[in-house]
Amino acid sequence: MSDYLYVGKDIPRTIEADKVCGRAIYINDLKRPGMLHGKILYSRYAHARIKRIDTSKAKKLQGVRAVLTGYDLPDVRVGFIKDQTVLKKDVVRQFRDEVAAVAAISLEIAEEALHLIDVDYEELPAVFDPREAMKEGAPLVHEVDARGKPVRSNILPLPWKFQAGDPEKGRRESAYVVKDDVRTTWVNQGCMGTSGCIAEFDMNKNLTLYSQTNVPFLGKQRIQEYLSRLGLGKSNVRVLNPVVGGSFGTKLDTDIYEFIAIQLALQTGKPVKILFTREEEFFALPPRQPALFNIEQGCDREGNLTFREVKAILDNGAYTSWGATTPSVMMMPISSLYRVPNVRFDATCVYTNNIYAQAMRGYGNPQATFAVETSMDRLAEEAGIDPAELRLINCNRPGEETPMRLKITTCPLEACIKTVREKIRWGEKRGKRNGRGVGMASLIHVAGGARVYKSDGHGIIVKVDQNGRVDVLESGTDQGQGSPTVISQMVAEALGFKPDDVSITLGDTSLCLWDAGTHASRHTFMAGNAAIQACRSIKRQILEMAVEFIPQIVTYAIKKKKQKDPNFREPDLDWKLVASPEAMDIKDRYIFPQKAPDHPYFRTEVSEILTRGLHVGTGQSRVVIAEAFYDPPTEMLDREMKGNYSMTYAFGTTAVEVEVDKETGEIKIVQVFAAHDVGRAMNPTLVKGQIYGAAYTGAGYGLTEEIQVRNGRVMNANFRDYKMLTAKDVIPVEPIIIEVPDESGPFGAKGIGEPGLVPTAPAIANAVYDAVGVRISDLPITPEKILSALRKKDVC
């Protein structure tokens, strides 16, 4: 056991007390003086030519301050591969295309103005199935690329091709081979707080953007770039994060509505707020990237994996956001979940006239792990090996390098598999086919940053005032995971202060240092490592002051005692105990000699030293401040798409028991055991919160959630028709925290934000097969699909 005072403890989230009192300020609650309300007009067609836009009636409406169309804005392209403009002109390519925008003195007037905008369209042939869109002669979604060069195909110039070893040789050497087609669908991130922002320019055209982004610095960079294309290169951009009502991937890209708010604010000279309705949240935000997989893998007679080959087709939608980069993460489970020597992965991203997609908790990992782990079960059956056993035979081990060149540090995957196997009583329950079944699935995920950008750095500034209050200016964001609590624990531990002493300021690009963003489960890992560095310096500064001031304080105290009591005998003090910073330490706000922690004279409360340091009176006063920038020694993926992009990787295994009603196809989750490798849990209760939440969303991904897109249109843009699990849908999850502290992590921690979601859906699918003998390879696993599969099975 560690002797940490705060790290590893269940410190409650009292730092966030405002949230339980209704006082936390979300974008919904934020108002600026003179603020206008912005609304967006979307396309009425999936693919059409805009023949005419008439905004004259809208402009005349009382209270309207600006009406903008693509024809009013300079042709500045935005987005991941710059394939769209902020407002669309000439052609619309999806139903969510932003055609016009209004700013008005009230939301009601802005809404009314939208109805007064008249747009004439000429419908164009559209394509909605990525496989159709790949064919020659399919309607082109884009006629030219970002540089204006004509294109001939809907296939994106983003080929994802990975190969390690010799898959053909692996196939030849296989005793058993299985092949499967797997489909995953669009899923909405389902943040309870809808999207929104406020854009505000000052008279010098400096922009403050109140944004929910979880990449404040990348967001700032994108906006700065955009403004300079508008001729506002000298404008400063300050991005500020209000309290954020959930993110789960939605805040990774700078969304079009943010650029629209900026344009409206520029046009009107007033702060402009755009706040999405729930309906917009469903149809006008990029959901989780859907994928079609063809997966083939094999093993030898002993069950050792011989090869794995995966082809993926990604429906990119009409434009490109982070969804197109999900293969970089899909590659991780495909190449590195279990030991497989020969791997090939090809992913093709295809434009269609559907809504475009991006990332959601787990990035591409849940999709790919669904393919890999359902295929593992199929292979186990083919080889006549128990599925848990097959996983153990091929289990990842500490110290190994995977075909993708990921360097595995700590790896308790074996313990995860064995723990859930025992907990769920695998041997006793498996293989009954009596309507009740068990299944499992594992995961690997980045847990020590993810070098997606050339800098995976994270900056932190720590300062301490004369009273010993610690201010941490921290570049990340909190979308609910509890970072302020965990960071205050880590800072308190590293400084020798108390968590209550620490205040955290997040998400302010003017105050904080660069950070690559709060994504990829990286916040605790990055902030912790940066905090440890900064706190080392702070501690040194305080102890140096202690060397100077403790003798003064003690000498003065003795003098006072002598004055009061003439018989007082001066103690024989060993001044060497406080003669150097190295000889002392700080714990719980007390400075003390390491050799005599309870020393009656030298033990000193920090604020005594800090106050003296500030109020010296000789022109020598000082403040205590330190900054640190932690950029881990990881690699970007190289041309072969290989490289150790994270400092460490998290593993985990989920086992699920289900009950399937053969008459109705309904699935009841009887129990879920989720064992997760977390390095060291900084706050076990908060870690469990991440696992519970992620497992629940994972269960929704497996069972109920799907954005119904028909001919490009989202048909279920509300909570009634889009089925998120509620408190009534009991998913009895038991999180199991497996701790093997990782050397690279702060106090041994690994990231745990996303992993819980990843293995849940495949574990459910595998359990359903064990229960009723049908494999559903098409998410979500609905009662209809089960019934239809059961019927087919009966016929055969």
């Binding site: 339980v20 009192c21 936390a24 009502g245 959930g246 209760t685 519970y692 509300n718």
Partner: protein, 157 residues
Amino acid sequence: MKKVSVCFTLNGDSVTAEVPVTWSLLKTLREYFELTGAKEGCGVGECGCCTVIVDGDAVNSCLYPIPEIEGRSVVTVEGIAGKEGTLHPLQKAFLENNAVQCGFCTSGMIMSAKALLDKNPDPAEEDIRTSLSGNFCRCTGYVQIIEAVRRVAKGNT
């Protein structure tokens, strides 16, 4: 726009509001009284983020027409802490039990739980789940929320 004047009790105070007749209770609370604890998560009564207590019942304030509030008693999340700022046992339990993550659903969740506990101080887990089934949460998986409510129900805090 035609306005309506309503008198009601809000967090123990007698109040009067003169607002457009089409406004909901949620809009009135947020815009007129600047009580922004209740949130709009969907605006059509599906998510529960706007839950407040009216005459002892948890209601979706986004669907509640303002003229209907005349003479009634409304309690919002801002009105349940003690006078000296001491947190209500539910607020305390939510913090201690990690029942709050992003916090957007929290106000509504706490008010639904309070309405339940006021009527049934010792509910079974099933009762808690039913009472909270109209309050969506995407962060917590509900587990720690239900635990928090149970802790208060049993008077453990």
